[in-house]
Amino acid sequence: MSKYTSKYLEEKLADKLGAQYVNAIDESDGCGGKFSVTIVSEAFRGKTLLQKHRLVNSALAEELKEIHAFSQKSYTPEEWEKEELESAGFGVQATTAGGEGLRIKTLED
Protein backbone atom coordinates (compact mmCIF):
# COMPACT_ATOMS: atom_id res chain seq x y z
CA MET A 1 0.00 0.00 0.00
CA SER A 2 1.14 3.56 0.50
CA LYS A 3 4.23 4.55 2.36
CA TYR A 4 2.61 7.42 4.24
CA THR A 5 2.06 7.74 7.97
CA SER A 6 -0.10 10.05 10.07
CA LYS A 7 3.01 11.82 11.28
CA TYR A 8 4.23 12.40 7.73
CA LEU A 9 0.88 13.90 6.66
CA GLU A 10 0.66 16.09 9.75
CA GLU A 11 4.13 17.50 9.17
CA LYS A 12 3.51 18.09 5.49
CA LEU A 13 0.19 19.88 6.07
CA ALA A 14 1.61 21.95 8.92
CA ASP A 15 4.41 23.01 6.64
CA LYS A 16 2.46 23.58 3.41
CA LEU A 17 -0.61 25.26 4.88
CA GLY A 18 0.95 26.90 7.92
CA ALA A 19 -1.57 24.93 9.94
CA GLN A 20 -1.70 25.68 13.64
CA TYR A 21 -3.29 22.34 14.35
CA VAL A 22 -3.29 19.13 12.35
CA ASN A 23 -4.53 15.75 13.35
CA ALA A 24 -4.26 12.86 10.92
CA ILE A 25 -5.75 9.53 11.84
CA ASP A 26 -4.67 6.42 10.01
CA GLU A 27 -7.86 4.40 9.59
CA SER A 28 -6.26 1.67 7.56
CA ASP A 29 -4.75 -0.31 10.45
CA GLY A 30 -1.31 0.88 9.44
CA CYS A 31 -1.28 0.08 5.74
CA GLY A 32 -1.39 3.81 5.02
CA GLY A 33 -4.20 3.79 2.48
CA LYS A 34 -6.94 5.46 4.49
CA PHE A 35 -6.71 8.69 6.46
CA SER A 36 -9.00 11.10 8.18
CA VAL A 37 -7.50 14.55 8.71
CA THR A 38 -8.49 17.64 10.68
CA ILE A 39 -6.70 20.87 9.82
CA VAL A 40 -6.88 24.33 11.39
CA SER A 41 -5.21 27.10 9.46
CA GLU A 42 -5.37 30.82 8.75
CA ALA A 43 -5.00 29.85 5.10
CA PHE A 44 -8.69 28.85 5.04
CA ARG A 45 -9.93 32.31 5.95
CA GLY A 46 -12.41 33.72 3.43
CA LYS A 47 -12.40 30.50 1.41
CA THR A 48 -15.44 28.51 0.38
CA LEU A 49 -15.77 24.91 1.43
CA LEU A 50 -14.66 23.80 -2.04
CA GLN A 51 -11.65 26.12 -2.00
CA LYS A 52 -10.57 24.90 1.44
CA HIS A 53 -10.68 21.30 0.31
CA ARG A 54 -8.84 22.17 -2.88
CA LEU A 55 -6.03 23.74 -0.81
CA VAL A 56 -5.60 20.55 1.17
CA ASN A 57 -5.86 18.38 -1.93
CA SER A 58 -3.17 20.35 -3.69
CA ALA A 59 -0.88 20.28 -0.65
CA LEU A 60 -1.15 16.49 -0.78
CA ALA A 61 -1.37 16.10 -4.56
CA GLU A 62 1.37 13.46 -4.72
CA GLU A 63 0.21 11.56 -1.65
CA LEU A 64 -3.42 11.39 -2.77
CA LYS A 65 -2.40 9.39 -5.82
CA GLU A 66 -1.65 6.54 -3.43
CA ILE A 67 -4.00 7.16 -0.55
CA HIS A 68 -7.26 5.69 -1.74
CA ALA A 69 -9.53 6.87 1.02
CA PHE A 70 -9.14 10.35 2.41
CA SER A 71 -11.52 12.53 4.35
CA GLN A 72 -10.82 15.98 5.64
CA LYS A 73 -12.22 18.65 7.89
CA SER A 74 -10.81 22.10 7.37
CA TYR A 75 -11.33 24.96 9.81
CA THR A 76 -10.18 28.52 10.30
CA PRO A 77 -9.07 29.14 13.91
CA GLU A 78 -12.46 30.73 14.75
CA GLU A 79 -14.46 27.88 13.21
CA TRP A 80 -12.31 25.42 15.08
CA GLU A 81 -12.82 27.20 18.40
CA LYS A 82 -16.57 27.06 17.84
CA GLU A 83 -16.36 23.40 16.88
CA GLU A 84 -14.26 22.64 19.96
CA LEU A 85 -16.65 24.53 22.21
CA GLU A 86 -19.56 22.51 20.93
CA SER A 87 -17.88 19.17 21.22
CA ALA A 88 -16.34 20.11 24.57
CA GLY A 89 -19.77 21.17 25.78
CA PHE A 90 -21.09 17.71 25.09
CA GLY A 91 -18.06 15.85 26.26
CA VAL A 92 -17.44 17.71 29.49
CA GLN A 93 -20.93 17.85 30.89
CA ALA A 94 -20.66 14.51 32.62
CA THR A 95 -17.44 15.46 34.34
CA THR A 96 -18.58 18.81 35.63
CA ALA A 97 -20.90 17.54 38.28
CA GLY A 98 -18.55 19.02 40.84
CA GLY A 99 -19.53 22.48 39.72
CA GLU A 100 -16.20 23.60 38.40
CA GLY A 101 -17.84 24.66 35.15
CA LEU A 102 -17.00 23.83 31.61
CA ARG A 103 -13.38 23.29 30.95
CA ILE A 104 -12.63 24.13 27.37
CA LYS A 105 -10.01 22.00 25.75
CA THR A 106 -7.09 23.93 24.44
CA LEU A 107 -5.67 23.32 21.00
CA GLU A 108 -2.71 21.52 22.48
CA ASP A 109 -4.88 18.89 24.16
Binding site: L50, H53, R54, N57, K65, S71, K73
Partner: protein, 211 residues
Protein backbone atom coordinates in the same frame (compact mmCIF):
# COMPACT_ATOMS: atom_id res chain seq x y z
CA UNK B 1 -4.63 25.85 -46.19
CA UNK B 2 -3.03 24.04 -49.10
CA UNK B 3 -2.14 20.37 -48.99
CA UNK B 4 1.59 19.69 -49.19
CA UNK B 5 2.76 17.14 -51.69
CA UNK B 6 5.24 14.51 -50.47
CA UNK B 7 8.64 14.82 -52.17
CA UNK B 8 10.50 11.77 -50.89
CA UNK B 9 10.00 8.44 -49.17
CA UNK B 10 11.81 9.73 -46.07
CA UNK B 11 9.48 12.69 -45.88
CA UNK B 12 6.52 10.35 -46.26
CA UNK B 13 7.73 8.11 -43.43
CA UNK B 14 8.31 11.05 -41.11
CA UNK B 15 4.84 12.38 -41.83
CA UNK B 16 2.88 9.18 -41.30
CA UNK B 17 4.74 8.41 -38.06
CA UNK B 18 3.92 11.81 -36.56
CA UNK B 19 1.95 12.21 -33.34
CA UNK B 20 -0.92 13.75 -35.31
CA UNK B 21 -3.05 11.46 -37.42
CA UNK B 22 -2.08 11.94 -41.06
CA UNK B 23 -4.51 11.97 -43.96
CA UNK B 24 -2.65 10.86 -47.09
CA UNK B 25 -4.24 11.43 -50.49
CA UNK B 26 -2.86 9.13 -53.18
CA UNK B 27 -3.27 11.18 -56.28
CA UNK B 28 -2.31 11.66 -59.93
CA UNK B 29 -2.03 14.91 -61.84
CA UNK B 30 -4.00 13.67 -64.81
CA UNK B 31 -7.04 12.56 -62.82
CA UNK B 32 -9.65 15.29 -62.53
CA UNK B 33 -11.37 13.50 -59.61
CA UNK B 34 -8.20 13.91 -57.50
CA UNK B 35 -8.50 17.67 -57.77
CA UNK B 36 -12.02 17.39 -56.43
CA UNK B 37 -10.89 15.41 -53.39
CA UNK B 38 -7.92 17.69 -52.88
CA UNK B 39 -10.28 20.68 -52.72
CA UNK B 40 -12.40 18.84 -50.17
CA UNK B 41 -9.33 18.10 -48.03
CA UNK B 42 -8.31 21.74 -48.17
CA UNK B 43 -11.69 22.68 -46.76
CA UNK B 44 -11.37 20.05 -44.01
CA UNK B 45 -7.86 21.24 -43.20
CA UNK B 46 -9.27 24.65 -42.36
CA UNK B 47 -11.04 23.41 -39.26
CA UNK B 48 -9.28 20.09 -38.55
CA UNK B 49 -5.77 21.26 -39.34
CA UNK B 50 -4.86 21.47 -35.64
CA UNK B 51 -5.77 17.81 -35.13
CA UNK B 52 -4.95 16.16 -38.43
CA UNK B 53 -2.22 16.76 -40.98
CA UNK B 54 -3.11 16.51 -44.63
CA UNK B 55 -0.66 15.53 -47.38
CA UNK B 56 -0.86 14.24 -50.91
CA UNK B 57 1.42 11.80 -52.65
CA UNK B 58 1.74 11.19 -56.39
CA UNK B 59 0.92 7.46 -56.45
CA UNK B 60 2.83 6.70 -59.66
CA UNK B 61 6.03 8.35 -58.42
CA UNK B 62 6.15 6.09 -55.32
CA UNK B 63 5.27 2.62 -56.59
CA UNK B 64 6.53 0.79 -53.51
CA UNK B 65 4.40 2.81 -51.15
CA UNK B 66 1.40 2.51 -53.45
CA UNK B 67 1.87 -1.26 -53.79
CA UNK B 68 2.21 -1.66 -50.06
CA UNK B 69 -1.19 -0.09 -49.53
CA UNK B 70 -2.76 -1.70 -52.58
CA UNK B 71 -3.59 1.55 -54.28
CA UNK B 72 -5.39 0.38 -57.40
CA UNK B 73 -6.98 3.64 -58.36
CA UNK B 74 -6.71 7.29 -57.56
CA UNK B 75 -7.91 9.09 -55.62
CA UNK B 76 -7.51 6.93 -52.53
CA UNK B 77 -7.13 8.25 -49.02
CA UNK B 78 -5.40 6.41 -46.20
CA UNK B 79 -5.41 7.58 -42.59
CA UNK B 80 -2.26 6.89 -40.54
CA UNK B 81 -1.94 7.06 -36.79
CA UNK B 82 1.67 6.80 -35.63
CA UNK B 83 2.70 4.89 -38.75
CA UNK B 84 -0.22 2.47 -38.83
CA UNK B 85 -2.90 2.65 -41.52
CA UNK B 86 -6.09 2.87 -39.48
CA UNK B 87 -8.68 3.59 -42.17
CA UNK B 88 -9.10 4.35 -45.90
CA UNK B 89 -11.53 5.72 -48.45
CA UNK B 90 -11.35 4.59 -52.07
CA UNK B 91 -12.53 6.95 -54.77
CA UNK B 92 -14.38 10.23 -54.68
CA UNK B 93 -16.61 9.94 -51.68
CA UNK B 94 -16.40 13.32 -50.03
CA UNK B 95 -19.11 12.55 -47.48
CA UNK B 96 -17.25 9.49 -46.23
CA UNK B 97 -13.91 11.32 -46.26
CA UNK B 98 -15.41 14.15 -44.25
CA UNK B 99 -17.01 11.78 -41.73
CA UNK B 100 -13.80 9.83 -41.19
CA UNK B 101 -11.70 12.98 -40.85
CA UNK B 102 -14.09 14.30 -38.23
CA UNK B 103 -14.10 11.01 -36.40
CA UNK B 104 -10.32 10.65 -36.34
CA UNK B 105 -9.83 14.33 -35.67
CA UNK B 106 -12.21 14.06 -32.74
CA UNK B 107 -10.59 11.01 -31.21
CA UNK B 108 -7.24 12.71 -30.67
CA UNK B 109 -6.63 12.80 -26.92
CA UNK B 110 -7.30 16.07 -25.14
CA UNK B 111 -10.13 18.12 -26.47
CA UNK B 112 -12.54 15.32 -27.21
CA UNK B 113 -12.24 13.92 -23.69
CA UNK B 114 -12.80 17.37 -22.29
CA UNK B 115 -15.93 17.73 -24.39
CA UNK B 116 -17.12 14.36 -23.25
CA UNK B 117 -16.53 15.23 -19.59
CA UNK B 118 -18.33 18.51 -20.02
CA UNK B 119 -21.31 16.70 -21.52
CA UNK B 120 -21.27 14.06 -18.79
CA UNK B 121 -21.09 16.53 -15.91
CA UNK B 122 -24.05 18.36 -17.45
CA UNK B 123 -26.05 15.21 -18.18
CA UNK B 124 -28.40 15.88 -15.26
CA UNK B 125 -28.80 18.94 -13.03
CA UNK B 126 -27.53 16.81 -10.18
CA UNK B 127 -24.86 14.39 -11.32
CA UNK B 128 -22.80 11.96 -9.23
CA UNK B 129 -19.56 10.29 -10.35
CA UNK B 130 -19.03 7.30 -8.09
CA UNK B 131 -17.79 3.77 -7.72
CA UNK B 132 -20.70 1.51 -8.62
CA UNK B 133 -24.21 2.88 -9.10
CA UNK B 134 -27.01 4.13 -6.87
CA UNK B 135 -28.33 0.62 -6.32
CA UNK B 136 -24.96 -0.99 -5.71
CA UNK B 137 -22.33 1.50 -4.51
CA UNK B 138 -18.93 -0.15 -4.50
CA UNK B 139 -17.10 1.94 -1.94
CA UNK B 140 -18.02 3.18 1.51
CA UNK B 141 -17.78 6.85 0.59
CA UNK B 142 -20.00 6.41 -2.47
CA UNK B 143 -22.53 4.48 -0.38
CA UNK B 144 -22.72 7.17 2.29
CA UNK B 145 -23.17 9.81 -0.38
CA UNK B 146 -26.06 7.94 -1.99
CA UNK B 147 -27.75 7.57 1.40
CA UNK B 148 -27.53 11.32 1.96
CA UNK B 149 -28.80 12.14 -1.55
CA UNK B 150 -31.67 9.67 -1.31
CA UNK B 151 -32.76 11.34 1.92
CA UNK B 152 -33.19 14.64 0.04
CA UNK B 153 -35.50 12.95 -2.52
CA UNK B 154 -34.01 15.20 -5.22
CA UNK B 155 -33.64 13.56 -8.64
CA UNK B 156 -30.07 12.73 -9.66
CA UNK B 157 -28.10 10.57 -12.05
CA UNK B 158 -24.94 8.57 -11.45
CA UNK B 159 -21.95 7.58 -13.54
CA UNK B 160 -19.89 4.51 -12.59
CA UNK B 161 -16.23 5.47 -12.97
CA UNK B 162 -15.15 1.86 -12.44
CA UNK B 163 -16.51 1.11 -15.91
CA UNK B 164 -14.61 3.87 -17.67
CA UNK B 165 -10.93 4.39 -16.94
CA UNK B 166 -10.72 7.34 -19.34
CA UNK B 167 -13.40 9.25 -17.44
CA UNK B 168 -12.04 8.10 -14.08
CA UNK B 169 -8.61 9.59 -14.73
CA UNK B 170 -9.76 12.44 -16.97
CA UNK B 171 -12.29 13.91 -14.56
CA UNK B 172 -9.65 14.23 -11.83
CA UNK B 173 -7.70 16.58 -14.07
CA UNK B 174 -10.74 18.27 -15.61
CA UNK B 175 -12.10 19.27 -12.22
CA UNK B 176 -8.82 19.36 -10.30
CA UNK B 177 -10.28 16.99 -7.75
CA UNK B 178 -8.34 13.82 -6.86
CA UNK B 179 -10.97 11.58 -5.29
CA UNK B 180 -14.38 9.97 -5.83
CA UNK B 181 -17.29 10.34 -5.35
CA UNK B 182 -17.76 13.76 -6.97
CA UNK B 183 -21.02 15.71 -7.01
CA UNK B 184 -21.90 18.20 -9.78
CA UNK B 185 -24.77 20.66 -9.91
CA UNK B 186 -25.47 22.02 -13.41
CA UNK B 187 -21.99 21.01 -14.48
CA UNK B 188 -20.22 22.67 -11.52
CA UNK B 189 -18.29 20.60 -9.00
CA UNK B 190 -19.80 20.91 -5.52
CA UNK B 191 -17.32 18.57 -3.88
CA UNK B 192 -16.89 15.11 -2.46
CA UNK B 193 -18.49 13.33 0.46
CA UNK B 194 -16.82 15.52 3.12
CA UNK B 195 -18.28 18.67 1.61
CA UNK B 196 -21.73 17.14 1.17
CA UNK B 197 -21.67 16.05 4.82
CA UNK B 198 -20.57 19.48 5.93
CA UNK B 199 -23.26 21.20 3.85
CA UNK B 200 -25.80 18.89 5.40
CA UNK B 201 -24.57 19.65 8.91
CA UNK B 202 -24.94 23.38 8.13
CA UNK B 203 -28.44 22.84 6.64
CA UNK B 204 -27.15 24.16 3.32
CA UNK B 205 -27.30 20.93 1.38
CA UNK B 206 -30.61 21.25 -0.46
CA UNK B 207 -29.87 24.83 -1.53
CA UNK B 208 -26.46 23.77 -2.84
CA UNK B 209 -27.86 20.76 -4.69
CA UNK B 210 -30.62 22.77 -6.34
CA UNK B 211 -27.98 25.20 -7.64
Amino acid sequence: MSIASVKSEDEYNTLINAEKTTVVLFTADWAEQCKHVQDALEELAKFLGNKLQFVSIAAENFPEISMKHQIEAVPTIIFFTKGTAVDRVDGVNVAEITAKCKKLGGSVAGESLEERLKALTNKADLMVFMKGDRNAPRCGFSRQLIEILNATSLPYETFDILNDEEVRQGLKTYSDWPTYPQVYVKGELIGGLDIIKELKANNELEIALKG
